[in-house]
Symmetry: C2
Subunit: 211 residues, 2 copies
């Protein structure tokens, strides 16, 4: 496919630009509403005084997510894909011009909410973060496997809602293990803060590794 | 776009085949895990003795959803899109061969879980059913507007979870109204059965209208 070849070339250019500036980039992907923006909000509150961080938001329409992030006083750019169901490297490359890369340590990219396409498009990131919420059901890794196969870390969010839903933890873990036995799996609630320390630790280790 | 033209021609052929056989088709779309299969399970339990109904399932991988439906002893076919993020008319046309159309009244199509692409591909259906769950957040209609703009009925599912989440009902209704003021909006819980009667009534009216 010619499209993927062009995308991969642009992703390589993005990766080079970020590496030269010493910026580590994360690409966060999930279904719509799993909690990506909430995770980023909590992350910024925890690290923005010790890490120079910026956020790149991707959505089909509106800048609602960027407006939530702007409240944290960090550089943020909203990409509206005008109906596109995933971010691509050309959009990221163009958006990099909005950031002062040499004065950044971390770039968090929030992809369009979609469990299928986004994981197939390299954006030049250092790591792919896969997120899924308990309320979506325990069968998501089996039915939408690509993200779980490729993710460098998987977050199971909204565990505070477990008492009110029927979620088969065992089955979920088995599905994830079958697809990607090595990947760390963090059980989290962005509402109660459970699992959040493990996530911050994972970021720290990733940044140390990539620098 | 050539792809859409071909899809529309195939969708017209599907629509003709269904109309000649007297079958009404519904295309149910939502994010992953909003409750499409659960809605179909409850619907089959309620109507399968009075309506001759079949189900067409679409997923990237596995036949987990079709296996759930098979328990209701109705004709069901699983389409695995092998990573495709939406159903297309050619897949539906091929699958119709598996059904005894003249002896059916209703065909329920469950699309791939995705709030962006599926709504753009006509499958030959009589109506598009948009579904969203409270746990995804009240901003989905604004950020992923296409489905809400085009849907013939919109179901807000999982209202039983409202006491445990912060969901702005007013804002949600305003977003939906801005996009599609005419469309009926049904507040539902597939778990408690709230709103389910309104859904069955909508199906009945739709079938009467289309026959
Ligand atoms: N109960 C509960 N709700 C959560 C949690 N994390 C996020 N939410 C809620 O889930 C809804 C969606 O959260 P967002 O952060 O907007 O989700 P998102 O993945 O960024 O959504 P999109 O960008 O639209 O795809 C909001 O109502 C949040 O308050 C959690 O851990 N527990
Ligand atoms: N609390 C609550 N849970 C629900 C409701 N409806 C469905 N669920 C749960 O939500 C999860 C997902 O439901 P499914 O019916 O599999 O969702 P789906 O839209 O078919 O999912 P995909 O086909 O994978 O996109 C399951 O754990 C269901 O039990 C509801 O009204 N309330
Ligand atoms: Mg978001
Ligand atoms: Mg389903
Ligand atoms: Zn896509
Ligand atoms: Zn698609």
């Amino acid at each position: 496919q010619k499209v993927m070849k062009v995308n991969d070339e642009l992703a390589a250019a993005v990766r080079q630009e970020l590496t030269e500036a010493g910026v580590v980039a994360l690409n966060i992907m999930s279904s719509p509403g799993s909690g990506k923006t909430t995770l980023i909000e909590k992350t910024l509150a925890a690290i923005k005084d010790s890490v120079r961080v910026a956020v790149l938001e991707g959505d089909p329409e509106t800048s609602l997510d960027a407006e939530r992030i702007a409240k944290f006083d960090v550089p943020v750019t909203q990409i509206e894909t005008a109906g596109g169901c995933h971010l691509e490297a050309n959009l990221v490359k163009r958006a990099l011009a909005n950031f002062d890369l040499p004065n950044l340590d971390l770039l968090i990219i929030e992809n369009v909410g979609n469990l299928v396409c986004p994981v197939g498009f390299d954006l030049g990131e250092n790591a792919q973060v896969g997120m899924v919420s308990t309320t979506e059901g325990h069968d998501k890794p089996a039915k939408y496997p690509n993200l779980f196969r490729k993710a460098d870390v998987i977050i199971l969010n909204k565990i505070d809602l477990l008492p009110y839903i029927n979620f088969d933890f065992e089955q979920f873990r088995n599905y994830v293990h079958d697809l990607n036995p090595e990947t760390p799996l963090i059980d989290m609630s962005c509402t109660t803060g459970e699992g959040f320390e493990a996530w911050l630790l994972w970021i720290k280790e990733k940044m140390a590794l990539e620098s």
